[in-house]
């Protein structure tokens, strides 16, 4: 792991159990609302031991990272650029989940050739969040957290997951959400993240501005970001002549933990030189 000072605040980056090596191709993993770097363990650790440099970040104001939690997708995208600068990374692949996918998309549009690959996991545009859920995230976060985890899961029988066999993915999602929420006593990062998702309006413009090939990694039974909600972006990217790959896995919104191997295979197949 390493702490990178970004905009004057320490930013935690999980490096997959390997020291950061600027000579290797770099992959930046960006988590979603009320998550942190640990949702990527089974993808990031593997890549770190297979020729990649990994920076699985805790976004500012989340868990181990200091700084102000981003209030918009654009603000978070600027942070990703600043992170690459601070870490001395000239080029990187960006992999984002849910809210993180919007951040990766906007960052790729801004950073142009500095982004070698773009992976949008569980994405949608627009990423509308229901008023009831936004309201609950502010006034009854535990209720909203339960709703999110219920909507996200697709099975009562996930394969061996992020902690290995014996992990109850639903419970792990609940516990992580509680921990992330508690990690920032100054800001409700749950509500702030949902509002940022809901208000992001630049998705279709951003997808036309990227220069990197893009992988859409979707969950076939995802109720948070249903596959059809990504079709607009996919169509726009194709119309703009981008290199587009779409992989749909038979899972919900927790692709990384409900199908860790299939998610890794899709990622590795896309990122490998």
């Amino acid at each position: 792991m390493m702490f990178v000072p970004v905009n004057g605040a320490p930013t935690y980056c999980y490096t997959g159990g390997k020291p950061f090596d600027a000579a290797k191709p770099t992959v930046v993993f960006i988590h979603g609302v009320l998550n942190d770097h640990s949702v990527w363990i089974l993808q990031s650790r593997y890549l770190a031991h297979h020729g990649f440099n990994v920076l699985a970040v805790d976004l500012p104001g989340h868990c181990r990272s200091g700084g102000e939690a981003p209030a918009s997708v654009e603000e978070a995208a600027d942070f990703i650029g600043a992170l690459l600068d601070a870490a001395g990374v000239q080029q990187a692949a960006l992999v984002g989940h849910s809210w993180g996918s919007l951040i990766a998309l906007e960052a790729a549009a801004r950073l142009k050739e500095r982004v070698t690959h773009l992976v949008l996991v569980g994405t949608a545009f627009p990423m509308r969040v229901s008023p009831a859920l936004i309201e609950a995230s502010m006034n009854d976060p535990m209720k909203a957290l339960t709703m999110v985890n219920i909507f996200s899961r697709s099975t009562l029988c996930a394969p061996p997951s992020a902690l290995g066999p014996g992990t109850w993915v639903f419970g792990a999602g609940m516990a992580l959400g509680r921990r992330v929420l508690a990690s920032n006593p100054a800001v409700n990062v749950f509500h702030r993240g949902f509002v940022a998702c809901d208000r992001y309006a630049n998705g279709e413009a951003a997808i036309t501005q990227i220069t990197a090939p893009v992988l859409f990694l979707l969950g076939g039974v995802d109720q948070m970001t249903p596959p059809k909600a990504a079709q607009g972006l996919i169509t726009k990217a194709r119309e703009a002549g981008k290199t587009v790959r779409v992989v749909t896995l038979p899972v919900g919104h927790h692709q990384m933990t409900e199908t860790p191997d299939a998610t890794l295979a899709a990622l590795h197949g896309f990122l490998a030189p």
Binding site: M1, Y14, G17, D36, H37, S38, I41, L42, R45, Y46, H49, C63, R64, T146, I150, F151, S152, R153, S154, T155, L156, C157, A158, P159, P160, S161, A162, L163, G164, P165, G166, T167, W168, F170, G171, A172, M174, A175, L176, R178, R179, V180, A182, V221, Q223, G252, P260, D261, L264
Partner: protein, 436 residues
């Protein structure tokens, strides 16, 4: 197809962690009696060993049948995951050995299963881990017992055998103020009666030998992590928050923000101590869990009738069940347990007015109740704690645990309640005659 909504307890007890076997279509959970699992390639093997990918390597560390039990128990308790082990005592040892080493200190309830008492009072002291025992209801005592080297608070949901209900929210708060987790033994209550994690406990374990398996056939244990305790913030658990040379220099709390305990417990505890569960045992416990709520409901109903009978009998001096308003934990049981005081379990004790000889006559006259050292069977059981489960404790320690020389412990089973009461009636008559 939409995903699952929010399954209730009984649905989780039947479905959590399992699905029809994709290879054969088998609906029941298959028993994977195999020591090891073939790697797809050398890269796959290396990735599994280095936790880059998840999967099964060797059944001492994990097994698909055991994993179903582990997921199911985590689901029922509201945890993030679980580890199935060889016995309830192995679960307690695994939890302690994962959290601390020589020079550490535990604050524990006095009202514990005798085996737990032995482990803390004698065996762990030999390995440099000291324990201060506190009466479960002595809230100031819990706070006063904390030392700089304290690493764990530990108690039973309903203390064995007096059924002192642990004030989990209050004790958890004191533990957290001290920067340590609360571990709770929920064997006698099962998640059907209380989910300790919802009340503030951080770790829960069971002797699955008892109500979970429910039929007196197998020995097993399981420890569940709530994922709630922040090991980094505490700063007292370098084994979880600093690189560990014993496992690739891994820092467990970085690998998993909420699952560091489980990672180390499995990767070190099962690997090195080796107290794993047989997949066949896991399967039998799963069979039990599938009917847990049905059985617990009957256990409770029978217990209520037996308690009422004993409380009215002239030869009975005291009935130690929170169902009775005279029990010191009655109000706490009403507040904490899912079914109120009725849900304080079906294992309880009572005192016969009379001599040791009368107690012996009572036990020997029973026909339906079996005299043996177990609880939580579908059959009704009886034992004399002072001469068996707690025989190593002196009179003072016995009194501290709420046990007298004439105390009889019952575990109420699933027989017809009238037959149980008839059996007790006959045995009490025999005890009366023995005193004449």
């Amino acid at each position: 197809m939409p995903g699952y909504s929010d399954p209730g307890f009984d649905t989780l007890a039947l479905h959590a962690g399992s699905q029809p076997d994709p290879a054969t279509g088998a609906r029941a959970v298959p028993i994977h009696l195999t020591t090891s699992f073939v790697f797809e390639s050398t890269d796959h093997a290396a990735a599994l060993f280095n936790l880059e990918r998840a999967g099964h390597v060797y059944s001492r560390i994990s097994n698909p049948t055991n994993a179903v039990l582990e997921q199911r128990m985590a689901a029922l308790e509201g945890g993030i995951g679980a580890i199935a082990v060889a016995s309830g005592q192995a679960a307690l040892h695994l939890a302690i050995a994962t959290l601390m080493g020589a020079g550490s200190h535990i604050v524990a309830s006095t009202a514990l299963y005798g085996g737990s008492q032995n482990l803390l009072h004698y065996t762990l002291r030999r390995f440099g881990i000291d324990t201060t025992f506190v009466r479960p209801g002595d809230i100031d005592g819990w706070r006063a017992a904390v030392r700089p080297e304290t690493r764990l608070f530990f108690g039973e949901t309903v203390g064995n055998p007096g059924l002192d209900v642990l004030d989990i929210p209050t004790v958890a708060q004191i533990a957290h103020e001290a920067g340590v987790p609360l571990l709770v033994d929920s064997t006698l209550t099962t998640p059907w009666l209380i989910k300790p994690l919802e009340h503030g406990a951080d770790l829960v374990y069971h002797s699955a030998t008892k109500f979970l398996s429910g039929h007196g056939t197998v020995i097993g244990g399981v420890v569940v992590d709530g994922g709630s305790f922040d090991w980094d913030r505490s700063g007292k658990f370098p084994g979880l928050t600093e690189p560990y040379d014993g496992f690739h220099g891994m820092t467990f709390s970085e690998e998993s923000t909420v699952g560091a305990f489980l990672l180390r417990a499995r990767r070190e505890g099962l690997r090195d101590f080796g107290a794993c569960m047989s997949p066949h045992t896991a399967w039998l416990i799963l069979q039990g869990i599938e009917t847990l709520s049905l059985r617990m409901e009957r256990h409770m109903a029978n217990t209520e009738k037996v308690v009422q009978f004993l409380a009215a009998h002239p030869l009975v001096g005291r009935v130690g069940h929170p169902l009775l308003e005279s029990h010191p934990s009655h109000a706490l049981a009403q507040r904490l347990l899912r079914h109120g005081a009725r849900g304080a379990g079906s294992v309880f004790s009572f005192d016969i007015k009379g001599s040791r000889a009368q107690g012996k006559a009572f036990i020997e006259a029973l026909k339906v109740f079996s005299h043996l050292a177990n609880v939580g069977d579908c059959r009704s059981l009886v034992i004399h704690p002072a001469s068996t489960t707690h025989f190593r404790m002196n009179d003072e320690a016995l009194a501290g645990a709420g046990i007298g020389p004439g105390t009889i412990r019952l575990s109420i089973g699933l027989e017809d309640a009238d037959d149980l009461i008839d059996d007790l009636k006959r045995a009490l008559k025999a005890a009366e005659k023995a005193g004449a």
